[in-house]
Amino acid sequence: MEISNLTKKRIKEGLKENSRFDGRDLLEHREIEIETGISENAEGSARVKFGKTEVIVGVKLGLATPYPDSPDEGTLKTVMELLPLSSPEFEPGPPRIQAIEISRIIDRGIRESGFIDFKKLCIEEGEKVYEVYLDIFSINNDGNLLDAGFLGALAAFKDARMPEYDAEEEKIIYENKTDKTFPLTDIMPFNITFYKIGDNFIIDPVTEEEEASESRISLGLTEDKEKIKINSIQKGKEGTMTEEELSQMIDASVKKFKELKKEFDKKVK
């Protein structure tokens, strides 16, 4: 969305006084809603809302031959679709760079964290493994689809149950869902994206703020035995950042990670 220079200026001036259009603090998240099991034919599914922003996420399984460098591990394919129904900005057609970038950031954050136990998705080493399709769709874009999609992915994986596998026929019987949960570890990643507007940083922007930002940085974090690690990073947009600013954001991300994890654990059992 092309917002006017006047709106940009007002956003910038507001941030200098620590104020945002919706009255939030600079590093305050909107209300988060998480609902799982929203589509029964998916192995796992979830709907996540950050304020008015809404995404739905589904996990499906397929069969594939493993990659030669990881013959005993399942594979993951992540696709984010920015549906035209969710924003006047999105148009039909093959995925554009915005959608590709979000898919890849989410894919990286989840893959690198060790959240999915890929070894347990192997059926026959070197021959047959499960292929995991993580599909994320925007339903309403009011900013921060990236972090919303990431959280939705976590919820959908938590919700997922393995379908029955017919070893003789070598196929998945999708109708017969078992009670077996999807193989996950305790290491759960969260993604926090900071947006730089003027000299200020905010999280969870609405579309106008997203549009007004000069640069952004996404940090994917995990906690393993009380130790915080960073697993994925992406700096986006044309603006630059200084070393000091990055250091500040790394520290802030650790704090936000803990808050987000607490909230997620409360909302998804």
Partner: protein, 232 residues
């Protein structure tokens, strides 16, 4: 603690041998090659030229358009021709890494095309591509505030090292390998590219920024020399 050297004999903070050449493609408005060890990138620049289709023109500024890709034979498993999702992303982050230094507002309604091809890949291809592209932009005589110098910093198990090779990138022992490509503006030292996948603590991450900054100085020296030694 006695310092162990890396498999190719380099110090931890030592980038691979670098080479840069400016003006390698006669037909282009600007061109350059940049090499980190076995990784070779070439870049050519066309423009500023009138942006078609016309509705894409911006009367307030020119547009920088980068196109990065691997040549099919540059990697062990042949890369399928045509852009992949990966190359789309790398093209975009390359654009973002370079745009802050280009005075695009001086060229309204135009596009500056930057084409980057990797001839031989051995890790850090996007960094080599950005370094080559920065030189090609300068060679094309496009108004720039400063140069951009890009280098990757990584972590092998617990050691922070500069400019990983493919062999090091595939390291799996201990905490495995982490790769963090950076781009620094040459004078202001602001960061215009920052990506990562792997596993690293917040403290180590801050340390990598320092290492990257120092290594980018070395890249900058190589780039500067190349610009001074253009053969006509």
């Amino acid at each position: 603690m006695a310092k162990i050297k890396r498999s190719d004999g380099r110090e931890f903070d030592e980038p691979r041998e670098m080479e840069a050449k400016v003006g390698i493609i006669d037909k282009a408005d600007g061109s350059a090659m940049f090499r980190f060890g076995k990784t070779i990138a070439i870049a050519s620049v066309f423009g500023p030229k009138i942006f078609h289709p016309q509705h894409k023109q911006d009367p307030s500024t020119g547009v920088l358009r980068c196109n990065y890709d691997l040549l099919t034979f540059s990697v062990p498993d042949r890369k399928r021709p045509g852009p992949s999702r990966r190359s789309h992303e790398v093209s975009k982050v390359t654009e973002w890494a370079l745009a802050p230094v280009v005075n695009l507002e001086k060229y309204p309604n135009t596009v500056v095309d930057v084409h980057i091809k990797i001839i031989q890949a051995n890790a850090s291809t996007r960094c080599a591509g950005i370094n080559a592209a920065a030189l090609a932009l300068a060679n094309a005589g496009i108004s720039m505030k400063e140069l951009v110098s890009s280098v990757a910093v990584g972590k092998l198990d617990k050691d922070l090292v500069v400019d990983l090779t493919k062999e090091e990138e595939d390291f799996v022992e201990g905490e495995g390998a982490t790769d963090i490509p950076f781009a620094f503006l040459s004078k202001s030292k602001e960061i215009s590219l920052f990506q990562m996948d792997g596993k690293i603590s917040p403290e180590e991450l801050k340390e990598t920024i320092k290492l990257g900054k120092e290594a980018s100085e070395k890249v900058y020296e190589v780039q500067k020399n190349a610009l001074k030694n253009i053969k006509e």
